[in-house]
Symmetry: D2
Subunit: 360 residues, 4 copies
Amino acid sequence: MSNSFGSLFKITTFGESHGKAIGVTVDGCPAGIDVDEAFIQSELERRKPGQSKITTQRKEPDSFDILSGVFEGKTTGTPIAMVIHNTDQKSKDYAHIAKSFRPSHADFTYQEKYGIRDYRGGGRSSARETAARVAAGALAKLALRQLGIEVFAYVSQVGELKTKKSYLELDLSKTENNIVRCPDETIAEEMIAFIDGVRKNGDTVGGVVTGVITGTPVGLGEPVFDKLHARLGSAMLGINAVKGFEYGSGFEGAKMKGSAHNDIIEKDGDQIKTLTNLSGGIQGGISNGEDIYFNVAFKPVATIMRDQDSVDQDGNKITVSGKGRHDPCVVPRAVPIVEAMSALTILDFYLLNKSTILKA
Amino acid sequence: MSNSFGSLFKITTFGESHGKAIGVTVDGCPAGIDVDEAFIQSELERRKPGQSKITTQRKEPDSFDILSGVFEGKTTGTPIAMVIHNTDQKSKDYAHIAKSFRPSHADFTYQEKYGIRDYRGGGRSSARETAARVAAGALAKLALRQLGIEVFAYVSQVGELKTKKSYLELDLSKTENNIVRCPDETIAEEMIAFIDGVRKNGDTVGGVVTGVITGTPVGLGEPVFDKLHARLGSAMLGINAVKGFEYGSGFEGAKMKGSAHNDIIEKDGDQIKTLTNLSGGIQGGISNGEDIYFNVAFKPVATIMRDQDSVDQDGNKITVSGKGRHDPCVVPRAVPIVEAMSALTILDFYLLNKSTILKA
Amino acid sequence: MSNSFGSLFKITTFGESHGKAIGVTVDGCPAGIDVDEAFIQSELERRKPGQSKITTQRKEPDSFDILSGVFEGKTTGTPIAMVIHNTDQKSKDYAHIAKSFRPSHADFTYQEKYGIRDYRGGGRSSARETAARVAAGALAKLALRQLGIEVFAYVSQVGELKTKKSYLELDLSKTENNIVRCPDETIAEEMIAFIDGVRKNGDTVGGVVTGVITGTPVGLGEPVFDKLHARLGSAMLGINAVKGFEYGSGFEGAKMKGSAHNDIIEKDGDQIKTLTNLSGGIQGGISNGEDIYFNVAFKPVATIMRDQDSVDQDGNKITVSGKGRHDPCVVPRAVPIVEAMSALTILDFYLLNKSTILKA
Amino acid sequence: MSNSFGSLFKITTFGESHGKAIGVTVDGCPAGIDVDEAFIQSELERRKPGQSKITTQRKEPDSFDILSGVFEGKTTGTPIAMVIHNTDQKSKDYAHIAKSFRPSHADFTYQEKYGIRDYRGGGRSSARETAARVAAGALAKLALRQLGIEVFAYVSQVGELKTKKSYLELDLSKTENNIVRCPDETIAEEMIAFIDGVRKNGDTVGGVVTGVITGTPVGLGEPVFDKLHARLGSAMLGINAVKGFEYGSGFEGAKMKGSAHNDIIEKDGDQIKTLTNLSGGIQGGISNGEDIYFNVAFKPVATIMRDQDSVDQDGNKITVSGKGRHDPCVVPRAVPIVEAMSALTILDFYLLNKSTILKA
């Protein structure tokens, strides 16, 4: 349960930060999808540490290996296992943190829940696990492209710095042009400088990633509990460090009146469209064909380069001190993860939707 | 899928607004829980329309009937079916909306997805369906009480009116003292007056419900995809009209630095506690024993007493006009729904957690 | 879990033998299926007790009520709840069996598992629960008919009396011509006389039901764990009193050599067919377009009209004595249940199969 | 779906016969289980080809690698990925079978279902996939041992040769004493000679494996659809080449009278026991504490060393000729697979059963 996502296009991730490998199995991938391995690798590159001065300087090569489910470059409908071997699994001495509970990390909760934990580099709770999601998400993106569906994400806020432009006013093809992955170039420069200052200070800062999904047909999403935005929200909240999710008008919508919030429906040629899109492309939990857009709030990374009071496994007072490298701001690297989880969510609903009408 | 929630304590709701009945089956309820039917009824009363001047004046008696799974006042471990019969199923003529697509309703998306829809009173997409969730949630609350776990919710914002107090500064036992269900009595009066004005104006307004869960043991929640807050968020986003979810520091946390956001761990007698609780009671997706708290944003209800342009099923331009009664602000009645979904989420994780250690 | 069957066309049954009602919810029924209520009722008639001299003489009217999911005679894609109210729920005094553990009944296992049980008429373990499956199965049959798929079942063995003809040599349209539901008329008469003798003797006898599914397209079934025959077998073994399942060559196949068992493949016009069908229409867990056929073994009903030694809940020695009416042979009434579970299995695989190819 | 088994202790297998690797992820393994890697390896040895003169002479080393979820020799509660690398993936030329549909193989059904297939050595439909099940099952066996539960399997029939002794009359510790894995030594010798003759003749033969589970507590199994024997049956029918499953009295029970079939309940010291065990240790789908026993029928392997008529993918008539090595009788190597699937089934029900009572 806990390590699977999706109902028909179902992924299961495995692996610890400093174990032998991390990886993912994809069960339910339709047959006949062209597997562009270079694309999958490029998605992994976008997530991996050490890619710029404003992310952690840790090095993880993140090259992957497809073990099954692909034959002569195409998916066969059987499970696809992808493995990313860890290279630095034995390189460090973790004795100093073996019994420490680091503030706002999952050390304490894992220990209490399981009675045992792989403490090396955060073990299973390490963000390294998200590489497996990105690999599976890349596959989902390849499938969605055949359907004319695209997923985008970008950094819209770092700390208090926030672009004032909506996604419609931005050129999303520019997201990769700067290292903070914000297509608003003016604010991007400010963000980069700010993160750099935070980093030098040994501190971290949070931010917001905005996601946009275009080309979705009408009808995706299952009403009631599996509303499109409910599962999309769950997908985002399942990413490490996420504290909030909103779509369409979001928390601002709570302040509004119905007369201002309702999206008037009109005919545009053959298509039924809405004049505005405060609904965020979803009505009653089902896509209405408009763009789907949403915000994901990330807290600042818990690992800071400062001394913090804490407690160890035996209940002794300890000081946890920052060592080595840290990631001053997680949101630039979160962009491909948000895209991956979006793609996985949408593809799964696309497949589920096929059973809505018997003969269609 | 779409109509079920939970993995071990699993509910499936059914029913349309103006069909014969709505209801719920609960599969996986532990045996031996005392079923306090008066309590379940009282929870339904908190959700039902017509309970005050600031909610819709529609009358739905919402009395329920347990068909199975309870014997001599106790649950038997077999499925519990609860049914709420609809009384006004034939009372209205819906011909005028049979083919209309109302703005920001699910008429269009249901029609496109299924090729057919029960248009009477919103059919399946009606908020009436949530009565079934409240009935099941009441059962979950009864079980949680035996474990010392309590769930609370209250209105913290209506339009721009917002309590400045955190849940810790409020007396949550006062929530039911006023009709807007806000325990901050000063702001509550303002909210009520404001909603009343909105209602007279034929308009609607959104708001925020805050949820609080106390007494949770350490260890609930499954890391990775089924993080406690991911499923809680999904539960909330599955409620009609919800546009956003945040827990702990939420979207504010995105602005913060790690040095300010980290919750320092300390020993308090025998227990390991945190000094602050920006984590919202959850670390790495697992409860840490602190209070869990979160906000849920609701958009304004789409039904307003004004004329709106739209399109019908055949693509003709139409005017949708407001008729009869409307619900000016959904949040007061959403309070028991937020509690119900919280209880269902927590109880399910409690049961799931039993399998973490073989012999425990 | 325990009370649900199916993955996309998912049913959940509820109800105890002498509670208020039994019933079923169907989640995931495709929209637009014509709901022939008379057909559903006729299927319930085939299962209900008291229909002939060789079944139990207990009377259960088994009229059903559709509460949701059907609008203007068609399914809407929302959950369909069907309820069968119990009429004799208070008519009997069950004090004498409240604490008894009847031999080869589930009294002891329910009591130990749940610590409580509804002892009236067997409670949840009563075969009465299967009426809910028949109602849902009737709906599945209606859907399958639109796809040209038919399911058949008939009694092929009662005690040692066994038809020597394969299903291909029998006219399955004659199954309903006699009360034992065996289309081999000569052996049918012997079976009826034999059951009648068993009944007069206060005893019971087992038998075998054979199932046949025709018109299945190639491709249904998921290889590995959810092989078509694995889930079909699970569906059959989930029926009360079933002790065995075999398909195609079955246990006889274990005696054979490969050279005799292999089904030679040939071209028949445009279609690829097999010369023989020892595979039972399934290869590698996937339907190959040939007829699917299988046998289901039922033990004799445990309730007999004789005194039997046993133990009560407190560990005291007791004598359980046969009282009232009993069902001398369960297989004639099991025929519609086998058909229902077959239809539910095949329809679910049909819907699942839609996601195998992305665009198909 | 198709590649997963279990609900709480959930395994997902992956891999093709001649791809890079096969493997399994185990999600939901309780934390703290000692992982005896030598034991897992020894279970794989029991399944692997080439272990005796009466199995296929193909060589597969089947050494495995644990990639995750185990730390310092113990399970951590996180997913356990185990991989078995294929060594002969490029060693053969499969051009001659790339388009052939071999009789009673899954070539045709895979091709039709997916539109593509990895034809090398049977691809996903190869029995090689069962090695992954054996690895996961070994882990389940290690957990069950801590609970005092043991699973056994042995060959009880090869072709027409059948032991006349019940499992109670046999010494199951002797199963591994001979290469056919039949603890009845007299018949074992006959079986071995018979298989050897079949092998020399280029033919294959079917057989029956009997399974026995001892030490099961009362209460395992979920009534209604997930009856212990329904899921056990599904587990067995999911093994390649299985045609039938029966438990307790099985198909013989269909011939019996209730007066002979009922298991009289008695008190044996503190325990409630049954005098006979025709129920096979399960009543109402729930274990009653007696031994669980069952038979699994295997058809003869489809690959024979003879020419057979068939059709290729383009519809041309072809002759499929036997080449290389073949497996004359699958049942000796099926013994560890039956044990593995039994262990997986029982452990999953054990974990599920923990949620039956709230506080227990």
